[in-house]
């Protein structure tokens, strides 16, 4: 056989998150290795849904800082995603897109988050700022803004809990239940989650306090607070409506509580 040539298959890295596979095709071997290392626990394919992107890397002089404003909009059935360090187009019907980006893990990470949030929005699910974990076959979500305690509750997790993420949780709808799935989107722990999933048993809205307790929360407040934490990138009215409906459906099927806690392992004793 011919040597020294890279076959098309070898140019592709497939990342599977939440049962959705995305093929990333790049001709740059060092960037391919970077992707493989970053998403090591999430490499593989799922037959359920499949999308692909061709990646073209910027020259170092081309890219602007990553904190440039993000813009996500749809034009004639194609999503346009752009920030200083990437410019992407994606046609969800064709399942295909192109990314021009800096040779940076942050750019591809941002594109993947956006694309998954768009896919999930049409399926009744969402990405949410939340830590999540599986314990006893049940998944729990711990949501809150930055500083609310997502990293703390993750760090306090007992050995028999499987951490799905300490930062961005993947919530997928399956009939009349929701699944929490592991993500490689890490927060302060800088540790990717386990690539596992389980039926979601409860969502806890985190608040630091003087003692550990679970409090009820009014449904409307629960939905409002959930919506505040849902990752939502697109300036698109139809998508706003979908996300709103998803949050309402979620709240009708999954118990939502306020979890007031002190940074102590005993908080996990009351999580059922």
């Amino acid at each position: 056989m011919t040597t020294g040539l890279v076959s098309a298959a070898e140019e592709v890295v497939t990342i599977e998150i939440g049962g959705t596979s995305i093929d990333l095709r790049t001709q740059n071997p060092s960037f391919r290795r970077l992707i493989e290392n970053r998403y090591a626990g999430f490499l593989g394919t799922s037959p359920s849904s499949h999308f692909e992107f061709d990646i073209d890397l910027y020259d170092p002089s081309e890219s602007a800082p990553a904190d440039d404003d993000l813009e996500v909009k749809i034009e004639e059935g194609e999503w346009l995603l752009q920030r200083g360090d990437f410019h992407a187009r994606w046609n969800p019907d064709a399942g295909h897109g192109q990314i021009r980006q800096a040779c940076s893990p942050y750019a591809i990470d941002a594109v993947l988050r956006i694309v998954h949030s768009l896919i999930l929005a049409t399926q009744g699910g969402f990405l949410v700022h939340a830590a999540s974990a599986i314990r006893g076959g049940k998944a729990f979500l711990f949501s809150g803004v930055s500083g609310a305690g997502k990293t703390t509750i993750s760090r306090l997790a007992p050995p028999d809990a499987t951490l799905l993420t300490d930062e961005i949780s993947y919530v997928r709808r399956e009939g009349n239940r929701y699944m929490a799935c592991g993500t490689p989107f890490a927060g302060e722990l800088a540790r990717v989650g386990e690539n596992q999933s389980a039926p979601l048993s409860a969502l806890f809205l985190l608040e630091k306090g003087l003692q550990n307790r679970i409090e009820p929360i009014a449904p409307t407040e629960a939905i409002q607070r959930l919506l505040r934490n849902v990752l939502f990138f697109a300036d698109d009215p139809e998508l706003v409506k979908l996300v709103f409906q998803s949050a309402c459906e979620f709240a009708s099927l999954v118990p939502i509580h306020r979890l007031v806690f002190v940074p102590d392992q005993r908080v996990w004793d009351i999580i059922r």
């Binding site: 407040e221 409002q224 139809e238 706003v240 409506k241 709103f244 409906q245 709240a251």
Partner: protein, 104 residues
């Protein structure tokens, strides 16, 4: 003073939950939870019934409020929601896509 006609914008998502109406603007994602009185006004906002008639015929009938107080409260509510494009307000009956629509 000219009467106001109000209609619900189509650029919103809304759902009734536990007697309260949740409304979210699709334009700027502003989220509102309406109490029972506000929910009743919201549901009566058909673009054809004057606001004063909604207040007199529905709000004052269903809730124990005096007409003057109810009218002032309704106008404040309508002003606030119209500023977010959630309610459309006009001096004339509203017809969908009519050029007389005023969204404040």
């Amino acid at each position: 003073m000219a009467d106001k006609y109000i209609a619900r914008s189509t650029a919103i998502a809304a759902r009734m939950l536990g007697g309260e109406m949740m409304v979210m603007s699709a334009a700027d994602s502003t989220f509102f939870t309406l109490n029972e009185v506000a929910s009743a006004i919201w549901q009566a906002a058909d673009g054809r019934t004057p606001l004063s008639e909604i207040v007199a015929g529905k709000i004052c009938q269903e809730f124990d409020v005096d007409p003057e107080h109810a009218q002032r409260g309704a106008e404040r509510f309508v002003d606030e929601l119209s500023q977010h494009g959630i309610l459309l307000v006009s001096d004339e009956p509203l017809v969908e896509s009519s050029p007389t629509l005023v969204s404040r």
